[in-house]
């Protein structure tokens, strides 16, 4: 069973729709008790970093998430949910989950060279896998995904970067450390490419 954390941040229904479409069984729950048996836990997120950390803490999710990871079960962070996996973010002052080494920082462009790039990075962009990975399976063309974000991850360990995307400069689009996976884009809004993503996750 897959459990999607409903902590008032992010579009859990779209994620559930897509997982069901590829044949997965999932629940959306605001109650940490319901997620304790989940094989895969999904942490979505849209909004501000500190607010998300506070919501997770106040609603009793922090312990459940950490326990889930310590039991070697899979955790997937999506968008802000991915950023929460890191140690710190320039967007806030509260610490993140610290499950992946590194920080989150705002896009910053050299305006003399790149004058027209807007923040947030919003729209469809391609990803490039840094190495052979189960998530790269099944695509007949270069996969592209829908992104909406103003901040991006910076990994301390290059080995944690699974795929990169370019927006002004390359940044990590997919990160993974052991059983913790994060994606900066929205697979649930990336039609066939997102379906393949969830299929790959389920088949792994």
């Amino acid at each position: 069973m897959i459990a999607i954390i409903d902590y008032g941040m992010g579009n859990a229904p779209s994620i559930a729709n897509m997982i069901r479409k590829v044949g997965g069984h999932c629940i959306i729950t605001p109650n940490p008790q319901d997620a304790m048996q989940a094989e895969i836990l999904i942490l979505p997120g849209v909004g501000a970093f500190d607010n998300a950390v506070r919501q997770l803490r106040d609603k009793g999710w922090l312990e459940v998430i950490l326990n889930h990871v310590y039991q070697s079960r899979k955790l997937i962070g999506i968008c802000l949910g991915m950023q929460l996996l890191f140690e710190t973010s320039q967007e806030g002052v509260l610490p993140g989950l610290g499950l992946i080494k590194g920080k989150v920082q705002r896009f910053e462009f050299d305006q003399t060279k790149i004058a027209t790039l807007k923040i947030p990075h919003m729209g469809w962009n391609t990803i490039d896998f840094t190495h052979r990975h189960y998530l790269s399976a099944g695509y007949s063309e270069q996969p592209r995904f829908y992104f909406v974000h103003s901040y991006h991850a910076v990994c301390d360990q290059g080995a944690d970067i699974v795929a990169i995307t370019n927006y002004g400069y390359p940044f990590p689009a997919v990160v993974e450390h052991k059983n913790v996976l994060g994606v900066q884009f929205h697979p649930e809004k990336s039609h066939v490419f997102g379906l393949q993503f969830f299929k790959n996750v389920l088949e792994q």
């Binding site: 729709n17 909004g47 729209g123 829908y146 929205h186």
Partner: protein, 256 residues
């Protein structure tokens, strides 16, 4: 590389899909759930649904219909029409809608944009500005599906909305809408140069070249209705959308 978004806009009235010209003479063109399914299969970048009757009839968004649509939409989905409160916005997000599009209430409910963006984040809040040039050449903002003229010019209004927390501006030229005569490039240029948030050009697209022109003058994304729903001079209903590669070739590397 990030590609300029190309967004079909679909108009709803009484649960049906309609199309008109210059905000008038709407006729029924089909079932919205079915249309969304087709657009989904065609891998559209994003989809915007606008209920043009909700505000005028004093109705709330049609949550039931939107739930059906959202469950079929595996792409970013925006909705506008009849939204007047943060509660309605939260309810729309819970259905799986990513972006809310606010037009009349952005003028009539002063705190709405600021409140909504502080809760949901700017990226989810699109302010829709309908505008028309008057006889002496000045632009005005219109609300209530283009029926009410405001003492506001679109440039000042767009700036104010950006300050209030809007994440995007959907900019529609009323007298181009449904005509296929091309976008109002002056309007796009004026507004896009005044704000730093993305401006989505809407109203008048008749060809792929029009998309390119809008991007050249500063649009971050382009929207169209007729181009994706009609074919031929008799306007037979046929849902189409250009393949990704074609749009990439057309729009990549274009900028002001």
């Amino acid at each position: 590389m990030l590609r300029v978004r190309v967004i079909p806009t679909l108009l709803l009235r009484n649960s049906g899909l309609v199309k008109g010209s210059r905000f008038k003479n709407h006729r029924y063109v089909g079932d919205p759930v079915n249309a969304v399914k087709i657009f989904n299969d065609k891998l559209v970048d994003e989809l915007v649904l606008l209920d043009i009757a909700a505000t005028e009839s004093g109705q709330e968004p049609n949550f039931k219909l939107l739930a059906d649509i959202a469950s079929q939409a595996f792409m970013p989905l925006g909705y506008g029409g009849g939204i007047r409160s943060v509660e309605q916005i939260e309810r729309l997000f819970r259905l799986g809608i990513e972006k809310v599009v606010i037009n009349t209430a952005a003028v009539e409910v002063p705190r709405l944009i600021a409140d909504a963006s502080s809760i949901a984040g700017s990226q989810s809040i699109v302010v829709s500005i309908d505008s028309k040039r008057d006889v002496v050449g000045g632009y005005h903002v219109y609300t209530r599906s283009g029926t009410r003229k405001m003492k506001l010019n679109p440039v000042d209004f767009a700036r104010r909305m950006e300050d209030n927390g809007a994440g995007e501006i959907l900019l529609t030229a009323i007298d181009r809408e449904g005509t296929g005569k091309g976008f109002d490039l002056d309007l796009i240029y004026d507004v896009a140069s005044a704000v730093s948030i993305p401006v989505i050009a809407n109203g008048g697209a008749g060809s792929l070249e029009d998309f390119r022109s809008a991007v050249v003058v500063g649009a971050s994304a382009v929207a169209a209705g007729d181009m994706f729903t009609f074919r031929g001079k008799h306007k037979a209903v046929l849902i189409t959308y250009p393949p990704y590669g074609r749009l990439e070739e057309l729009l990549n590397g274009v900028s002001k």
